[in-house]
Symmetry: C2
Subunit: 192 residues, 2 copies
DNA sequence: AGTCTAATTGACCCCAAGGTCAAATATTAA
DNA sequence: TTAATATTTGACCTTGGGGTCAATTAGACT
């Protein structure tokens, strides 16, 4: 029944590994990097995840599922959903000065995997679309409640926000000026 | 003085290699891929370019220098610079259905090299900034001529365009619908 | 205690990657 | 013709990657 007990917590392992993948990209992260990070040996890791790819998938799933669940719930419960939504962007103004400026793992993955690994690309696409659908719902509800002025269709507004998100996660790696970044966000959020 | 003549044209070689880098990314493009593409052997290539990295740099330099020179000149000479500028974006609506949807090599490089190769990242940044400065000049001149309505500073408008560009080069890999893409472009270009 | 089970360890395998180099080759200058 | 020079060729080297596996170990159950 029960053999030797596991030495690691799977959720924690996935958090750490996906953080590394996020920072360095998929290909550039070696199994040895991962092993050092989680203090494990090859065999142990491969005993649970049959390949580097499966490990990445599991890590991304955990990260995005919990992250998007949390986001969705908090926007639903919020008394000021539009303010919260805008904060997602404004928070990046400070985040851009973090020691590692790694962008969004979904955008990064879409760039890295396009033309190389359809399955992993589509996984990132899946979560980006879920992100978008959360935005749509939030905007729709906001329009119904009249707390938003724009009469543009929520689908277009959210598409724009997703696109702006994708852009800024690249652009922030190029320009560090906080004021300029804030102005850019102001401009793009002026639609809502 | 003159020994055995070269069998290849350097400019052509660089075009072909950078096209491959563009399509597959830097790391994922192997020297063998490159050699097959240009019909050469290892030694020949390494006789001219001392490393894969130098080859990439030379290729990117050629591509961007000529591309941006052409863009700058055509915008300067144009009788309808703003229309031309907008066309840069609208042209992507059809480009997004090409067999390989590879985005912008500058954005791709910034994503791939951040945290991995500062020199290559900064090279991509350099050209992206030159792109931006061309946009600034175009917008500035358009404001002076009064062929543009927005009173927003050209620096902000061009930053927005660059950011939009970065975004759409990711987003287009996710959504293929032409109508939606056109609406998105309309929205973002409404500022100018 | 002894047995069963499942996780752990780390040496090992295989391969593909970037890069090197001595020998062969094609041209120009004398 | 011959010497000098520069390019080409492709076998070869080294390194580091993902992945495997037999032996070991730590608990649970009887």
């Amino acid at each position: 029944m029960a053999g030797r007990p596991r030495i690691f917590d799977q959720g924690e392992l996935l958090s750490k590994t996906i953080a590394l993948f996020w920072k360095n990209g998929y290909e550039a992260t070696t199994t040895n990097d991962l092993l050092k990070e989680v203090n494990l040996n090859k065999g142990s890791l491969y005993n649970v995840f049959k390949s580097k790819k499966e490990l990445f998938k599991a890590g991304l799933n955990q990260m995005e599922q919990t992250g998007l669940d949390r986001l969705e719930e908090s926007l639903e419960k919020s008394t000021q959903p539009i303010e919260d939504l805008k904060a997602l962007f404004y928070d990046m103004v400070d985040a851009s000065f973090d020691e590692d400026c790694k962008g969004c793992i979904l955008g990064n993955s879409i760039v890295e995997f396009t033309g190389k690994d359809d399955e992993l690309k589509e996984l990132a696409v899946l979560y980006l679309k879920r992100f978008e659908s959360i935005l749509i719902k939030t905007l729709q509800s906001a329009q119904e409640k009249g707390i938003i002025k724009s009469t543009l269709p929520p689908s277009l507004l959210s598409r724009h926000l997703i696109n702006f998100w994708n852009g800024i996660n690249v652009t922030r790696r190029v320009y560090a000026d906080k004021k300029e970044m804030k102005d850019l966000i102001d401009l793009n959020l002026s639609f809502i």
